[in-house]
Symmetry: C2
Subunit: 427 residues, 2 copies
């Protein structure tokens, strides 16, 4: 009987991040009554009233009444293969323009199987040789570092600081790479309430980053997943909305605005691409070619569900976002307030205070590792995410991430009470 060895499989499978995520899933399974601040998933309360057939019908109506298709043709569009670039690009481009100030033609949008696939196809298209490096801000979302490892792309961590990004370190890293005959091809950045830190860039930092991208000839891969949680009067323009030089590839997801189960995200890639002896193309066209080798196309049924939810809000992402944004801000405020009320907790325990997003970053005076997580879950019934796997330079050992998105408000209050008891015991 054949037996394989992990050591003989691809190196990415040995990544400790993979093992850490497995442990987290396992611990939530073993302690089902624990209150878990781990999942970054959207709250399930927004899903209970969802009427999938009605969403699909909304899109079929649109295809018939606004795109002039007959009923059979519209239905077949959902059931058959479809263009690699996507089906609902027009609606996404319209919403991006109206709601987010991102003015791009539908042709520059690629609809993907979640933002995860968007990251994969963007990195695959952009990275040609081993001397092309990816800069990320550490601590960093494991989805992008995981893709880089699958593709064998070298990662250059840039420290997050209080302003969000250490520009001096980024500039220096670019110079170091050049001196070695390498180059930093792109920087992955979540300008709004990043996962895992909840950190945002202020407006001057956004402009400075765009300037530095032009100076250093970097592309910026902007992950916009949590921007919708900003208060209506406090939202900053995305990097893509500020992009005058086509330096930004914008990555979006409908998992949090619509439903994770549809697996629909997108990339905006309006960069022009010169092709020898051929008409000029958009980077989105190249991404679509890569995508045909990954998943062929994004399920048209799933695209229809998302499009239908958009159409039911007159095509507005902001309208879809409003009640969700309010809920998550309330949950976050409740989490921060409950933490502030904790008494008798050692003062060396610190945490940040984001104004949006799903996450709070906490610092303990001791390692917040899997052994401590086991104690937290088993003895205090509360689960959190160790931050070390998000760090790319061996840091973060004493940090943990608290997510407020998946819990009911009362669970947050009760969970922080348990967390307080845990912290008083172990710190």
């Amino acid at each position: 009987m054949l037996e394989l060895s992990r050591a003989d499989l691809h190196g990415s499978l040995g990544d400790p991040v993979m093992g850490s995520m497995t442990f987290l899933t396992e611990i939530m399974r073993r302690y089902p009554d624990a209150i878990s601040f781990a999942p970054g998933a959207p709250h399930v309360g927004f899903l209970d009233d969802l009427d999938l057939p009605r969403c699909i019908d909304s899109y079929l109506d649109y295809l018939q009444h606004e795109r002039g298709m007959d009923a059979q043709g519209a239905r077949r569009l959902l059931y058959e293969y479809g263009p690699g670039k996507g089906l609902i690009n027009d609606l996404v481009a319209r919403a991006l323009r109206a709601d987010l100030g991102i003015d791009v033609p539908p042709e520059s949008v690629v609809i993907t199987v979640g933002a995860q696939e968007a990251m994969l196809i963007v990195l695959r298209a952009l990275y040609r040789s081993a001397s092309d490096l990816l800069a990320v801000i550490s601590p960093c979302f494991v989805g992008i570092t995981g893709v880089a490892r699958l593709l064998g792309i070298g990662i250059v961590p840039i420290q997050e600081n209080s302003g969000g990004i250490d520009f001096g370190q980024l500039e220096n890293a670019c110079a170091v790479a050049r001196a070695r005959g390498e180059r930093i091809r792109a920087l992955y950045v979540a300008a709004d309430f990043s996962n895992p830190s909840g950190t945002s860039l202020d407006l001057p930092a956004r402009h400075r980053l765009l300037d530095m991208a032009a100076e250093q000839d970097l592309l910026l891969l902007e992950d916009n997943a949590y921007a919708f949680t900003a208060p209506a009067d406090g939202a900053l323009p995305s990097l893509k909305a500020l992009d005058r030089d086509r330096r930004v590839i914008h990555l979006g997801t409908f998992a949090k605005l619509c439903l994770p189960g549809a697996r629909v995200g997108f990339a905006v890639a309006d960069q022009r691409v010169r092709v020898h002896h051929e008409p000029e193309r958009l980077l989105a066209d190249e991404l679509a070619m890569v995508k045909t080798m990954v998943t062929v196309n994004t399920s048209p049924v799933c695209q229809a569900i998302v499009a239908g939810m958009l159409l039911q809000q007159n095509g507005s992402i902001n309208a879809l976002a409003a009640p969700r944004s309010e809920f998550y801000r309330d949950n976050l405020a409740r989490l921060l307030a409950a933490l502030a009320r904790l008494e008798d907790v050692p003062s060396r325990i610190k945490w940040n205070r984001p104004t949006g997003g799903f996450f709070v970053r906490m610092y303990l005076p001791r390692p917040a590792d899997l052994a401590l997580l086991e104690i937290s879950a088993s003895e205090h019934g509360v689960v959190w995410t160790p931050m070390a796997p998000f760090h790319l330079d061996g840091g973060g050992a004493n940090e943990l991430r608290l997510s407020c998105s998946y819990l009911d408000p009362e669970e947050i209050t009760a969970g922080v009470r348990r967390l307080g008891a845990f912290l008083r015991q172990v710190c």
Copy 2:
């Protein structure tokens, strides 16, 4: 304004296969009245009666009545993120056992975004270094060679012969690789009615291939997409059904049995994997880890649609397949009969006569290139697929592929008439 150059993007984007497929799509757009033998898509007639809400309800009923979930829990399962390995693995494993004689536990199945994603995650997991090569039978499905190029995996073409595979050449290729310090890690093979040739392996060839895999320490990646089109009394056991040594990773799709728009396929990977200091795992577990970095998980909504269609046939893939298989065999017989009736066509034009599948391979006495395709489409209103892009050794210049799956029976007859006129003119 930033401008990128194709020469500075990943090498796979310059693959001529990509350009060829774009040309084919474009020519069908420019000649909408042409009869096209190009698409290998399933016939749309099977989709018109599809009732998606009913399919979803069938699966929700199953979750409630057979898996003991409450209504809300079952619905939430469809809307939320889900396990990377999949949701409907139990139903797939049951059907594989009952219908195809593939007896594996549900844990060895990974549900994927079509067979395309299955190919990507299997190759990514299995290929560790540049000295690991992939053997394919040439001519070969472009989906697998495309993935190999995305991942930078070296391809070793083995010629197809009248028996399906040149075993001597395969054995020799393994020896050559070893002598160079490389190894052929796996062979991609469609044992039943391959795309693009329509070729099958007979039973002795299947056994011989399994023996050779053991001798040469190869894995076999079995693509089973067209096996369902075999006549009920003529179906041969799949390689996986014959696999006693866990040498075979089986790749399946529901695109042809259910609907392409669901984008649901699967990999069967029951190989054991030793992991240092950890409990033994299945290769399917490793594939699921890779998948989380590609698409996180396959849309549970789409999985529910496919599961519902299966459940409506008492969970039987064979029952789903029966009417489709009959339709495609009738179409294929009609295509072959119409070709046989062609008069005045130069006798140097040859074609094969598969007993199942979607494809016929035709040989012309002159190059069947894109220029000739343009003449065929513009002057005779008939489209086909040039075979050269499927060949990996510069061969196939004079060959074309005719697909019978997407056309109505009358279109096949009319299309062959047009094809005859075209062939008489140009050959």
